[in-house]
């Protein structure tokens, strides 16, 4: 994904349950768009990376260099969405569970 922007942003990731070996008991969905966050949170951070106040301060401290060992803020999921999964339990009964935070909607520097 060389064309992806260098700055922190959401990147596309499709997870196929067959790839991680869960397809034998998961009925639906077979796959879902999970996405992921990647990219730099360099000073100065643009608004688009939605930095927290703490991340902004940390970024400045790192840029100034007065305190050694301070890393860049991290590019992490900010808003996430749930995913309903239909699967068979150990007794072969069908179960529906709605798992929170399964798919990334937005990323941010935190």
């Amino acid at each position: 994904q060389w064309d992806e922007p260098r700055v922190c942003s959401r990147r596309y990731l499709k997870v196929d349950f067959a790839d991680i070996g869960w397809n034998e008991w998961i009925i639906s969905p077979k796959s879902f768009d999970a996405y992921y966050c990647a990219g730099a949170c360099e000073f100065p951070m643009p608004k688009v990376v939605r930095p927290s106040n703490h991340a902004t301060i940390q970024s400045i401290v790192r840029a100034v260099g007065i305190v050694p060992g301070i890393p860049e803020p991290c590019c992490v999921p900010d808003k996430m969405s749930p995913l309903g999964v239909l699967f068979l339990d150990e007794n072969r009964n069908v179960v529906l569970k709605v798992y929170p935070n399964m798919s990334v909607e937005t990323c941010a520097c935190r």
Partner: protein
């Protein structure tokens, strides 16, 4: 209640509980999606719930979990008992509602209804027909050690339908009480009041139970793996059946990445004593933090390979530790 499905096509199921009031026929390909047994009402119903609650923000019955339970048919004294094993309910799942879904056969003789229909075509008229014993649903909870008869948990009177109907009844108090008492084997019996009601065939319109629950642990870290990951990294024949999923009799191997020095590593203090994760490992340090349900997906090397790698890895690991110290520190250490 709802009309019985027309076979062999996909059943048209509508359910009047838990807010599922949007009857619509399922396309045949969707009904077949769950694989074998997809034509039964449980699978169809669950697939409909899945489609409904896959929409953003929708919560099944106000919770996050719906469990279905199929029964095992047992015949005792020529009476059909449907046995439900509810033990797969998790302790963290708070029951919001439980519903019992069943197919109620119409009753003859039809001639009795003729004068009634002439007077009024309503259900209450049929209910007033004399000479018909009331039908009841009887629920008993069973202790694992007892026989088929158990504690009567509830009885629900049923009005006879004009035609074959799938019906649903709220059995929340029954299931909650059974769970509270730790008796999660539940039997359901349709008491027709007749001496010899006949025994239904096992596959014909088997009833089922749906339990709507709120899993309090679903927001916990790793909950998706606790409930969904079942990969056994130690298949049958592996010589360490009693070992924990990630345990090994081999010494732990320290796999240090290229050291970047004591600073600028962005790692939590204290975690650097744990083995570093392999590149692209989905678990990373979580191996140490969430040990029990997380199992490695990587194929396990054979015992010979592990023996070969084990001793060889130790000198390398020891050498890698030296790299963590800068020259000044090393000089100081040597002087001391």
């Amino acid at each position: 209640s709802h009309t019985a499905p027309a076979r062999p096509g996909p059943p048209m199921a509508t359910y009047g509980l838990a807010g599922d009031r949007d009857p619509q026929r399922l396309p045949g390909d969707r009904a077949a999606a769950p694989g074998p047994g997809a034509q039964d009402m449980v699978a169809v119903h669950m697939l409909r719930l899945y489609e409904k609650y896959s929409q953003r923000g929708a919560r099944p019955g106000g919770g996050n979990t719906v469990r279905s339970f199929r029964p095992r048919l047992e015949v005792v004294n020529r009476r059909a008992l449907y046995l439900f094993n509810l033990t797969s309910l998790q302790d963290t799942e708070m029951i919001l509602m439980a519903t019992f879904h069943f197919y109620l056969e119409p009753r003859g003789p039809q001639a009795h209804e003729v004068p009634c229909k002439q007077r009024a075509k309503n259900a209450s008229c049929r209910l007033l027909l004399p000479g018909r014993p009331a039908r009841r649903l009887l629920f008993r909870s069973l202790s694992p050690n007892t026989a088929t008869q158990g504690l009567l948990r509830g009885a629900i009177a049923l009005a006879p339908p004009a035609q074959g109907l799938w019906q649903a009844r709220d059995i929340s108090p029954i299931v909650k009480a059974a769970r509270r008492d730790g008796e999660l084997l539940l039997s359901a019996e349709l008491d027709s009041g007749e001496k010899d009601p006949g025994v239904p065939s096992p596959s014909a319109h088997a009833p089922y139970i749906l339990i709507y629950a709120n899993d309090l642990a679903i927001s916990e870290p790793n909950s998706v793996a606790v409930t969904l990951q079942r990969y056994d990294p130690f298949p049958a024949g592996d010589p360490e059946p009693g070992a924990a999923p990630n345990s090994s009799t081999d010494p732990r191997v320290r796999r240090a990445t290229q050291a970047t020095g004591p600073f600028h590593d962005n790692e939590l203090p204290g975690l650097d004593e744990e083995p570093a994760p392999a590149p692209h490992s989905p678990h990373g340090h979580k191996h140490a933090l969430w040990p029990s349900p997380f199992r490695t997906l990587k194929p396990r090397p054979g015992r010979k390979d592990r023996r070969r790698k084990g001793p060889a890895a130790f000198p390398a690991a020891a050498a890698s530790q030296v790299l963590h110290f800068d020259e000044k520190t090393m000089q100081k250490a040597r002087r001391r």
